[in-house]
Symmetry: C2
Subunit: 180 residues, 2 copies
């Protein structure tokens, strides 16, 4: 019996990932430029110089590409939020947290739509039960708010309620800024 040479399997794996990455990158670019609904699988395929059918060998359907982008969006948001850790004053940090969030929404507003506003992906997320990535950002916010409470900047408020209201406010501002 033969042992399969690892090099080949690894290369295949690499190539598969590369292909998925290529599709994703191309789809992202198109989605950001023209919005999810206005991009066809055919156009993505054309860009990467493959047949439309090839896409379906790497992603189950069009929605799954969107879902992958969704994950990337949350990753971006989380990374951007981490930058405020250098601010020592909890209150200043929380304010920066909010303005950062709004800036993120404005600068990546197509991402933002995909993440929070459009209903389409929301369905997908519930099915998949993979909201952890989104929740991570919310936990980070709660941590920041908690430190504001401990430092006496917010008096006698329930942590969850405060976090919910804070996110709602920033999200509301962002949505209104995007839509108007």
């Amino acid at each position: 019996m033969f042992v399969k040479p690892m090099g080949i399997l690894e290369r295949k794996d690499r190539e598969k990932k590369k292909m998925r990455g290529l599709i994703l990158k191309t789809a992202m670019k198109l989605f950001l430029e023209e919005g999810f609904e206005n991009v066809t699988v055919r156009r993505i395929a054309e860009r990467i110089e493959y047949s439309p059918a090839a896409i379906y060998l790497y992603y189950k359907d069009k929605d799954e590409i969107l879902y992958a982008i969704h994950e990337i969006g949350f990753e971006k948001l989380y990374k951007q939020q981490q930058t405020i850790l250098s601010i020592k004053n909890p209150w200043k940090r929380l304010k920066k947290h909010g303005s950062n969030y709004i800036n993120f929404a404005l600068e990546n507003h197509e991402y933002y739509d995909l993440m929070f506003i459009m209903r389409g992906p929301a369905k997908k997320i519930k099915e998949k039960e993979e909201w952890e990535i989104g929740l991570r950002s919310f936990e980070f916010l709660k941590k920041n708010i908690n430190e504001c409470i401990k430092a006496g900047y917010l008096s006698k408020v329930n942590l969850d309620v405060a976090a919910f209201a804070f996110w709602s406010l920033t999200h509301g501002i962002a949505s209104r800024l995007i839509l108007c």
Copy 2:
């Protein structure tokens, strides 16, 4: 030369309006049940027992039906908001204003999506420059907030900023409640 008998023209006009109403009502019902994107022109036509092409004699395209619903949604919201006028205390009234808004969003959340969350119609609105109906509700909010300020419930805040923040907060809460 003959003068056209008015009765016939009036009847025709009535019938035209009736037909538009029938299409709208049917489309609304379907949109509310299944979402704009999942309803086809063919299904609307089928429901009213006309050919798909007939729809296009009364509405330019599918989006225009959505736009008409959009207007109705704002009308509903505005009417519902008016009910708080009976509350004399400005602060209580403002709080009711907010909870009403959230209730409206939850109870008519498909409407609400069409009005604020989905991007599709937003494009349409900008083209048409008919945001007046939406703005009317915002003006009403500003009036309420202004009276809170005058009555000393809100100290030293800019009216527009306060109104903006208030709507953002309620909108944010509503959006999050709908999406989660």
